[in-house]
């Protein structure tokens, strides 16, 4: 079988259920692939891993991939399983912020490590400065949990619909006690989890074929995971996930982002993402050739 190494963006959890399901259910095997899934972590940059040859394909957000592309790692989006963004900003209802107009002068928690672009694009759109001055907002680099809100260190924090949001619920907040700013709902979403491979390698037809099979099997895995979310959560647990209930809920939420599991990239969201990055000077030139529909077209007939 052909070997494929997949580098995830984060630790093993239902966010990546499709790949684990595809592996466990033998979808990869059926395509003649032997796939190794490498979990990520807080300081693992998948772009670095693929640049160093440690992976054939990575799960990444478009922002990081375009930045890397400009730095000489020619990443190409070959599939986009997540159609919508899972990120949102939440504020407690009894706090000072009720609408976008209330942000001024308050402290907002944001994730960095490539996850900050949507937030800055949004603030840019609102015309708010982010340098901590009185007519802007104060930005905190938030840890990967919901403590800043519980400890009242921030007025609003970033959460993923499928993950940290539920930690807040666990911590005793009721959904009706929270104000939610969802990036997708606001039309501010940038592309999240997509599959990226190296442009150079894709020129090799054999590799391209391998990727077609990989994407086909992965999307089959995603479909299965969406349809059987409890079983998918169990598979994630078997592969090192933590806290089964949490994974089940996460699977449920992730399913909402997948849509119809065809992995096709939406050009409008792509354009928005590229523009946001340009506006923030994360990249300096309009990117070209940063995605291809060739793979998904062949994979999903």
């Amino acid at each position: 079988a052909d070997k494929v190494t997949l580098q995830l963006k984060w630790v093993t959890q239902a966010q990546f259920a499709g790949y684990y399901v595809a592996k466990d259910k033998g979808f990869y095997e059926a395509e003649g692939l032997d796939v190794e899934i490498k979990p990520g972590g807080p300081d693992i940059a998948p772009e670095q891993v693929i640049a160093g040859g440690g992976a054939d394909v990575i799960v990444d957000w478009m922002g990081g991939a375009l930045a890397a592309r400009e730095k000489g790692v020619p990443l190409v989006n070959i599939a986009q399983p997540f159609k919508k963004a899972g990120m949102q900003l939440v504020c407690p209802k009894d706090g000072p912020i009720k609408t976008e107009a209330d942000f001024k002068g308050h402290t907002l928690g944001v994730w960095f490590f490539g996850n900050e672009y949507p937030f800055y694009a949004w603030m840019n759109k609102l015309g708010l400065k982010t340098d901590g001055g009185p007519d802007g907002v104060t930005v905190l680099k938030q840890s990967f949990d919901v403590q800043p809100l519980i400890q009242k260190q921030a007025d609003c924090i970033s959460v993923m619909t499928y993950n940290e949001y539920w930690q807040l619920i666990d911590a005793g907040y009721k959904p009706e006690e929270l104000i939610v700013f969802n990036y997708s709902a606001m039309g501010n979403d940038l592309l999240e989890d997509g599959l990226y491979a190296s442009e150079d390698k894709l020129k090799d037809p054999a590799f391209e074929d391998k990727m077609v099979r990989f994407v086909r099997a992965s999307m089959k895995g995603w479909k299965y995971a969406v349809d059987n979310s409890d079983e998918a959560a169990g598979i994630v647990m078997d592969n090192g996930g933590q806290d089964e209930n949490h994974q089940k809920r996460m699977m449920g939420e992730v399913a909402k982002l997948i849509d119809n599991a065809d992995g096709k990239l939406d050009p409008a969201t792509y354009a928005r993402t590229a523009k946001a990055l340009l506006d923030q000077k994360i990249i300096t030139k309009e990117p070209t050739g940063a995605y291809t529909t060739a793979i998904t077209d062949k994979a999903i007939k």
Binding site: G41, P42, I44, K152, G172
Partner: protein, 292 residues
């Protein structure tokens, strides 16, 4: 042994004091969130009930000692040792890369020290850079090291062990330079009057004279090595190990897990330092050391 008895009472009473302070702090630190919770739930518990609740939150700001103890006990003794949730298993994962890194680090430190003591060029050029190397924030470099090593096909235990090596070679190198230079001038002169060869002087004089220094610095090195292994586990995807437990705990705000992982780390650290200490004492005794 009677020094042990001398220490027993003070140590236990100070530990008891720490416990009391810990409980008080737990109540104080957990109180605001509990108040929020009660307010949202519309409850008004009395003081005793309230204190009881502050000490039984599932994700407290500061877990009470008994919460940590229970968690530690469950994860140490009630889980299958091969289970990913067993602290014994995770401690073993960390321990193995600690030991490997410690072995590398000690060897590297000794080699550097021998070089510095014997080669004038190294003596004069290397030392400032060895010190500078230790001021590099290792956690920042660790992920990159791991990625670069993965790029050349080195994965698993070795990358973590290399971070341990990086942290542990320093105390050994510094200690051994001191140790290999510790023979008194008359002892060196004596060797010279015998027309001893450099290797004879090295093995018969410098090496034995440096042994106490070696073990003292190995104690520091083994602790540094453990820190390295834990740091090295953070960016490897939090698969297994004490570092992974810490990270997973932080990721899900499972403070009790963090604390019991910390306790596990402490136990490992204490054991490692103790083992090195005992080895040192055995060697010292074998070399005719004078009992203290």
């Amino acid at each position: 042994m009677d020094s042990f008895r001398d220490k027993l009472i003070p140590v236990t009473s100070i530990l008891a004091g720490v416990m009391v302070v810990w409980y008080i702090m737990a109540v104080i630190l957990n109180a605001p969130f509990q108040r929020d919770l009660d307010r949202r739930a519309g409850e008004t518990p009395d003081v005793v009930e309230f204190i009881g609740k502050t000490m039984s939150q599932p994700k407290p700001t500061l877990p009470a000692p008994h919460q940590v103890a229970v968690n530690f006990f469950e994860n140490t003794f009630l889980r299958k040792i091969t289970s990913n949730r067993s602290l014994v298993y995770n401690a073993w994962v960390t321990l193995s890369s600690t030991l490997l890194g410690f072995a590398f680090g000690t060897a590297l430190g000794i080699v550097i020290a021998v070089g510095i003591v014997h080669v004038a060029t190294l003596d004069r050029s290397l030392m400032p850079w060895i010190i500078a190397s230790q001021t590099i924030p290792i956690l920042a470099v660790a992920p990159m090291i791991i990625v670069v090593l993965a790029a050349v096909g080195v994965t698993g235990l070795i990358p973590k062990a290399l971070i341990s090596t990086y942290l542990s070679f320093f105390p050994v190198a510094v200690g051994m330079v001191k140790g290999l230079r510790s023979p008194e001038l008359t002892h060196l002169d004596l060797m010279y009057t015998y027309n001893a060869s450099p290797s004879q002087t090295f093995w018969k004089l410098r090496v034995p004279a440096s042994v106490p220094f070696l073990f003292t610095s190995m104690k520091v090195a083994v602790a540094a090595s453990l820190v390295g292994a834990i740091v090295g586990e953070l960016p490897t995807g939090a698969v297994a190990g004490i570092g992974a437990k810490l990270l997973a705990g932080a990721y899900y705000s499972q403070t009790i897990d963090i604390w019991s992982a910390l306790v596990a780390g402490s136990v490992v650290a204490a054991l490692l330092v103790m083992v090195v200490g005992i080895a040192g004492r055995i060697v010292d005794r074998a070399m005719g050391g004078r009992p203290a």
